[in-house]
Amino acid sequence: MSSSVSITLTQCSRTFAGGNTALQPLDLHVNAGETLVLLGPSGCGKTTTLRIISGLESPDKGGQVLFGERDVTALPIEKRDVGMVFQNYALFPNMSVADNIAYGLKIQRLPKAEIAHRLDEVTRMVDLQGFGGRRIDALSGGQKQRVALARAIAVRPKVLLFDEPLAALDAKLRDRLRIEIGQLLRELGTTAVYVTHDQDEAMALGDRIAVMQSGRIAQLGTPQEIYHRPANAFVADFIGAVNCLEVIGTRADGGLIVPGGELVATHLQGVSSVYCRPEDIQIVPLSQADIKGKVVQSIFLGQTQRLLVDTGGASPLQIEAPSRQRWPNGTGIGLTLTPRVLFHPDKPTVTGNAKEQAYG
């Protein structure tokens, strides 16, 4: 709908009064039309980054914010042409649904007919037909967030910014709205930055994800890259579950000796530990097993079950197993791992190239 624009942050740091550094000098490029998700634990600087992009917050001296070629560092938010969606909806309580959605259009002094047309268009997009006259406090949380979304996209902003828009909703509704927002963003083609601490949301919505850790970007990449090739232990641990196997020794033929058995991983020489995801470990008969252990706990998850297997290492391995099979505690279990699924943040994967980026 609108011609999208890229966003470039250069050396943007933010130190609050009292010397609290929320953001280390940060470089970030968001391609035009792309949805970038900022993901990370509480207090890592996601909101601060988003507010610097929006113009609600200024970077420390030396930082620069570009929209396309244009330097907007000195522009306040009202001149930046951004749409924002907040966690608490931030709807104007003294206005009806329609007045809320049309607020930005009235500010732009669009002709009445154009306002009516756009109002109609966006209410249809967010599926809120017939709600125009409602009071805000007569809406459910999900409906409120749709109004907020409609209000932000009605002005056809160059950039859409979301700060945990679904965090206040229950899980079912969150899933549904997440899908709707995803469709909407693809339909609009607007450049979007989406803050969340929910990894499922990040995976589903992000063209790329920036995982943040204490004011830095720990890794920037596609959801697949982030999941399968985490840049460090922090990212690996934050995105999904991860197993860490200590390497006790190395065989002459290159096999890695780990608690409970040994592994073949020629691409991981000289490391002190190797990592793998629970779903990449296969259960095999004990006779064919690379690693052997005992089931210490099984957690039923519905579709699957999570087994905790003690192999004699520091912490039990997490393994995903079909949910119908029963694994009483103490049962011996055989496991196998293909080299492909083993990784270490400092080493290239079997299929991948050497790491292109130096991660913080």
Binding site: I77, E78, A90, F92, G104, R151, A152
Partner: protein, 298 residues
């Protein structure tokens, strides 16, 4: 039933028989009535009795006109002017106070600067003064020997004064109204949801539009209720007016005059009732407009 079951056994059986015959609902009502009794007695003795006496007294014949004192207020210029003056000055004071202190309160709530706590303390200090002292302060500023008179005497050779007129009263009332508004508005601004302003700004609203569409509607209940309180206080303020001079024609001074100077009890009573009713109406109107949170913001 829990009340009965906690009694010693003998009493318990007595109560049970009682409740069986009277019925639990009626018994509850009886207990509630008994519990309310002291409050009711106090209410009747100290509020209902004197107040109904006041209302009845106001209907008696006025000494000078010979007709009901209520009618006298409405038909005699002197009282009408006093009524209009009192309502007028209270209204103007409330509106001015809300306008000035509303802006100041918003500024104070939103900005941090060195010495802010001290400034807020100084601004709210007049709340600690009784009306007499406020009147005294106005005289020191605009009275015969006041700062303004001294300055104008030195500059232009004449004494400028305002203390003994309605202007003096206005300044005095403003003096004790502003702190109330400032504290209320500061509290209301602290409770405003900041993301509303940010949302409005992201949609392109400038400072003026944000103020008009978000901030003022957000603190409107507080402005209304604090304005009503200012109005009520100004309507009944006696100390300040008395200090500034008994020649001012406003209701509280009229009541005092009729009562002590002329022993015209009917008129004093009628004026009191009128004053009370107007003030009460203003307060309840504001309470309704503000959505019933008047009590919380006082």
């Amino acid at each position: 039933m829990t009340a009965a079951s906690k009694q010693p056994s003998g009493a318990a059986s007595y109560f049970r028989r009682q409740s069986a015959s009277v019925g639990p609902a009626r018994r509850k009502r009886l207990i509630a009535l008994l519990a309310l009794m002291p409050a009711l007695v106090i209410f009747c003795a100290f509020w209902l009795l004197p107040f109904s006496r006041l209302i009845v007294m106001g209907a008696e014949a006025d000494r000078s006109s010979g007709i009901s004192a209520y009618l006298t207020i409405l038909t005699h210029r002197q009282y009408l002017i006093s009524l209009v003056t009192t309502v007028g000055i209270s209204l103007v004071v409330s509106i001015t106070a809300v306008a000035i202190a509303g802006v100041a309160g918003f500024f104070l709530a939103r900005h941090r600067f060195f010495g802010k706590a001290a400034l807020v303390a100084i601004l709210t200090f007049p709340l600690a003064f009784p009306g007499v002292v406020v009147g005294f302060l106005v005289i020191m500023l605009g009275g015969r020997q006041g700062a303004l008179a001294q300055t104008s005497l030195w500059l232009f050779g004449e004494r400028w004064m305002f203390a003994y007129s309605l202007a003096g009263l206005f300044i005095g009332y403003l003096y004790f109204s502003i702190p109330r508004v400032i504290t209320t508005v500061m509290a209301a601004c602290d409770n405003l949801d900041k993301s509303l302003e940010e949302a409005a700004r992201s949609l392109g609203a400038n400072t003026w539009q944000v103020t008009k569409d978000v901030i003022v509607p957000g603190i409107a209940p507080a402005l209304l209720s604090t304005g009503a309180i200012c109005f009520a206080t100004s309507m009944g303020a006696f100390g300040t007016a008395f200090t500034l001079g008994t020649r001012l024609s406003i209701l509280p001074l009229n009541i005092y005059g009729e009562f002590t100077n002329y022993a015209n009890f009917a008129m004093a009573a009628a004026l009191s009732v009128v004053l009370g009713v107007i003030t009460w109406m203003a307060l309840s109107l504001a309470r309704r407009l503000a959505g019933g949170n008047l009590g919380a913001s006082v």
